[in-house]
Each structure stands twice: as structure tokens, then as C-alpha cells.
Symmetry: none
Subunit: 189 residues, 4 copies
Amino acid sequence: MNVKKKIVEQSIQLFEMKGFSETSIQDIVEALGVTKGTFYYYFDSKEQLLKDIHLTYIDDLLKLQEQIIGNSDMNYKTKLFETVKLLITQIKVTGRPARVFHREMMHLKPESVSMVKQKRKMFRLNMQKIIESGIESGEFRKDLRADLVTFAILGMCNWSYNWFDPNGPVTDEELVKTYMETLLNGISS
Amino acid sequence: MNVKKKIVEQSIQLFEMKGFSETSIQDIVEALGVTKGTFYYYFDSKEQLLKDIHLTYIDDLLKLQEQIIGNSDMNYKTKLFETVKLLITQIKVTGRPARVFHREMMHLKPESVSMVKQKRKMFRLNMQKIIESGIESGEFRKDLRADLVTFAILGMCNWSYNWFDPNGPVTDEELVKTYMETLLNGISS
Amino acid sequence: MNVKKKIVEQSIQLFEMKGFSETSIQDIVEALGVTKGTFYYYFDSKEQLLKDIHLTYIDDLLKLQEQIIGNSDMNYKTKLFETVKLLITQIKVTGRPARVFHREMMHLKPESVSMVKQKRKMFRLNMQKIIESGIESGEFRKDLRADLVTFAILGMCNWSYNWFDPNGPVTDEELVKTYMETLLNGISS
Amino acid sequence: MNVKKKIVEQSIQLFEMKGFSETSIQDIVEALGVTKGTFYYYFDSKEQLLKDIHLTYIDDLLKLQEQIIGNSDMNYKTKLFETVKLLITQIKVTGRPARVFHREMMHLKPESVSMVKQKRKMFRLNMQKIIESGIESGEFRKDLRADLVTFAILGMCNWSYNWFDPNGPVTDEELVKTYMETLLNGISS
DNA sequence: CATGAATGAGCTTTCATTCAT
DNA sequence: CATGAATGAAAGCTCATTCAT
């Protein structure tokens, strides 16, 4: 595997464990057995590395979301299900970058922040569109505020990065099913 | 107001804006017009200040939660409603510490972390208890996994610190009502 | 003597010997037996130190020039003589800062440069004024270009920082006398 | 044009603008669209490049000076005139290397410095010889100190690199004429 | 109670240089 | 001839912390 990729992966691991500010370039290169010079051969700055991580992550999410949205075989409930599954499963596959993604955005430069925020917003609006279409199609209740419901679902899913351990007693599939069931039918008896 | 309190409040403001690591003691004392010596008269370290902030915050939450739980006039739906309201409204009242609370825990020393985590866990388990009691009493569906539902609700509420602006078009009361309605009855038509 | 002053003097010595870029903060503080922290307690940056040196130097020159200009007992030839003497003698008194002053201006930030340049220009224009007044009074030839003559004199004097050793065989007084004599009467037989 | 020459010219331009220390090899090769390897194919070090620039410059000057000295058609006043013209005009033709030449000598290694200094000294002594011969021939005043007068003239000329803009209102020919006139006849009325 | 001087360890970054290909 | 990857030493600077007063 090439060095740049190794740096990215090692960084993600360290950022996730110790936080961005607490991770020094020294930490990263030492863990890889290279020198600081090597780091700066591949990256202009520590911030740029973080930006790369963020953009890669959100771009991947957006690409997978597109596949869900573009699939005309699914109804809107299924599309929502797949979206929730996407967010939760991402933890299993790429647990670490997810946590970095949700925590360290503040350390980006203003310009990088706005770039990332814009893409995150796009993801959210795509989700909202699914809700809105589902309302129109009659799959969801007519009286919903699609924007707030979207925020609620995103919160539910994203928060799980804080506690969900894919190797723990609850599987990711179980979690997705439970969340969707709760979401669709409510908890009231 | 005494100096210690001023330091805490100024710190919260700065931590919220720039992050814990990016805020220097110099920043804090300069903003207050005192010197570093003064800071170290009141606090042993920067970490201890953060610990104080965290403990004050979670202790306040726990105290308010106790009042909800101990109130025998409420049924469990109402208790859950009040809990959600407590979490969301906290943003309006104390928006800044909330964000600091949810972001900067990693900068605490291991011992401080475990102290805070334990109290956070207590808050969560108290919530879970409300769900479980509501299931027993027949207010909530019998087939719920109380633990996962609790995580879902916590995620929904806590995530709102990321986007909810109490001075924006949506009021906190509106948000609480919408969230509870969605939660209780689901989105399925 | 206080530490800040010591830092300035040590820096001047090192800048003069090795040049600004080649002198590290480490070099400066090591020579003084203090630490880098101490340096940055007194100065915001290396550049600011250089700016301080430049401004102190040119401000001193301007103050002394003022005394010459304001002295109504002198005719213009004498005033010019005193100005030349001022520039040459400065080497003897403050040899090192002079060389730093004439060499390292490029390492200042643009804003600092313009501040220093403005004051240098003022010195030059004051000199030019002496020439112009001397022309009017009949002490100097009517057909002189005061601006170019001023540049010529400045060059003559300032260049001496490149070779003149006040402890060498030629004394500063001798040099001033010779330069003035050459300047006033020319070399043509 | 060959690559080595391009490197030299680009370097001169950059050294003149930003200074030797502030110009990195990266800057140089990037401006030329080649790589660092290429640079080190042609030059052993950054210092060697600077040495090359210095030696080329002073060797050129010496060669031109020789032509002046060897021309038996000129009297000594004319020879001095031509020398002054040589120094001033060099700015117009090769403004940049001139400034580099007069500023960055300190960045050479001691051995290179002494080589350059020796040649500079030779130029100066050649000039001094002109003055001395002119004194003997009766063209210049008998009571001159040829050594100090030479320094004065050199200062006058070389200093002009600090302010003279060949594209400004004063032409180089005008400057040379004015300087020589002042020098020969003095400013006294 | 509070100050201001000083520390020292560590940080991000730069850069001349080397070298296998 | 030329490249691109890698090095390693050093640079400027930050900052939590200490302590005599």
C-alpha cells in the first residue's frame, strides 16, 4: 500500500483515539516508521489532511446515497430504511472515520468547513426529499414536518457513533431494524 | 460576580467558539483582564476547569431529572415529554455549555472521564427506567427494547445541539412537541 | 540591565555578524543564558525585534538631525558638515546597529518596511533641505540638483559602513574632514 | 537557452526580490517547471549557485574595467568618468544581479567570500590607481587622499542601487554627468 | 489574592540535500 | 539528464505551568 494512504489511515486511527489537536505529526509518522519530512511531502498541512479525510468520507456517503435515491425499485419506506442502514453500517465498516467526521470539523479552516458543511447539507436535504416524497405518495403521515423529522432521524443515527459497538451484543442489523420500527410506528401503545 | 465564576463562564464561551485545545489560558485571562496567576489561584489546571464545567452541567441535568422522576402526578408519557423538553430547552438556556459538554469530553483525564461518564450513564438509565415503567403500565408498546429506544431518543435530542438555533424560526417548544409526536406515533401513515 | 535590553543588544551583535536569517532565536537566547520562552515573553516575533531595532535606530538619527537643523548658530555648510559627521560617527558609537540597519530591511513585514522607509525618507529630505537652503543663501553653487547631490552624499557616508573600521588607521574625524573637503571643493585641480 | 543559465537567471530574480535565505530551491525549480534533482545536477549546493552569481558579476565588471584602463586614448578624468558610468549603467543593464551582489555576500562560505572580496578589492585598487595617476598627471588636486576618495566614489555609485530606478524620471546618463560634475568641482560656490 | 517574569517541552512547518531509478 | 520520494536537522512559535514577590 502506498505511503499517503497509510498516513491517512494511521491519522484516522489516532485522531479517533486522541483527538485531532492532541495528535501530533510526530505521533503519526512515528507510528508508521517514517519521518516528518515524508508527511509534508504528501500533505501541505495537518489541516489539509483532516480536510481530505472529511471530504473522502462525505463524498463516499453521498455516492452511496445516490444509489439509494436512484433505485426506482424501492418505495420510500425502503429508501429511508436503506439510508438509516447506510449511516449505521458505516460505523461497522469505517467506524473510526465516522467518529472523526462527527467530532473534528471545527479544526478545519473556514473555507474547508463551508465546503464540508455544504455536502453534509446536501445529504440531509436528499434525506428530507425522501420523506417528502413518501408523504406525497401516502406512505408517510400527511401532517409531518419533513425538515424536523429528518433532523430527528439523523440525530438518532449519528448519535450512535457515541455508544454503538458493532462488536458488542447488538448487531448493526438489529439496531437498524429496531430504529426503523420505532420510527415508523412510534412507541405509544 | 466573583472571579472564579467569571472564569468559568468566559471559558465556556471560548471553548464553545474555538474548542478546548485551541483556547489558551492566555485567551481566557486576557478576555477577563486578569493574569495567568489569577487563573492558577482558582484552578489547578486547564483540565480541572473543564472537569468542573462538565460536572456542573451533568449535575444540574441530574437534579432536574430527579424532579421529573419524583413527581408522582405525571404519567410516564408526560415524564418522557418533560425529559425531552429538559434536554432541548437546555440549549436555549445554556446553549454554550451544552455544546462544550458534548464535544470536549475527550480532553479530560481518564479519571475525570469516568466520573463524568458514570453520571451521564445514570441520566440515561433514569430515562430508560421511564420507558420500562411506561411499558409495564401499558402506556408504551410491550415489544420495545427500552435500551435502544433510549439511545434513539437521546440521539434525537442531543444531536439538536448541532443545528438547532433557539433564535431561529423554530421555537424550542415547537421542536419538543414535534419530536414527541413523531416518537410516540411514528411516521407511518 | 533588564532582559529585554539585553536581548536587543545581543541580537544586534548576532544579526551584524551572521545576518538576520542566519541568526536563530536559539542563538540569541543561548548567548544570554535564557530560554526561548523568555524571548517570546518580550517580543511577539523575530520580525518585531528587527522592527524595534530599525525604529530605535532611525528615530535616534532623526532626533540628532533635528538638533542640527534647529541650531541657528550654524551656517549651511556647517550643518551639512555636522550631518555627515553624524552619519559617520554613528558607526563608531553604534557600529553594529548601523550595519544591521542598512542590510536587513528586507526582512521586515511590508507594513514595517513602509514605516521605516518613511522615516528614512524624512531624514533624506531634511538633508536635501539643508542643501537647498545653502544654495539660496549663496553658500553652495546655484546650478546644483539638490536631490541628486543628497543621494550622492548619503551614498558616500552610508557606504562607509561596508569598509570603515573606527579602530583602524583612519579616524572618524579624519574621514569626515576628507569627505567634506572633497565634497565641497571637488577633486579637479 | 540551456537549463543551467535559466536556473541562474531565475535565481537572481528571486534572490533580488525575496533575498537569498528566503528563496528556497523549491521556489527556483518551481518557477522553471523542473525538479530539485535537476538543480542538484547542475549545482552542488545553493551556496555554490550564489558564488557563481557573484563571480560572474565581478568578473564581468573587472573585464570592462580593464578595457577602460588599457585605453591609452583617454585621460584620467575620462577614465574616472567611464568607471562611474560603468557602475551606474550596470544597474540599467543588470539591475538585479547588482542588488544581489551588494547584499548577499554574507551567505557565501568563508572561502568563497575571500575569493569574491579579493576581486572586489582589485576593482577598487584599479580605481584608486586611476585617481593616483590623475594626481600625478596634474588632472586632480595634489592634496587628495586617493584611497578615501575612491571609497567616496564607490559609495556614491554603489549606493544608487538602493534608490535609482533606470525607468524613473532621471536617466542613467544624467545621473552619471551630475555625479561627475559634483565630484570634480565640488558643491561650494 | 494577584502579578509578571520565566521556563521547557512540544508543536507545525520548512528546506537543503540525498539517492535509487 | 532528470525525477520523485524520503530524510533529518533546525526553525519560529505556543503554551500550560511555576514561583518569588
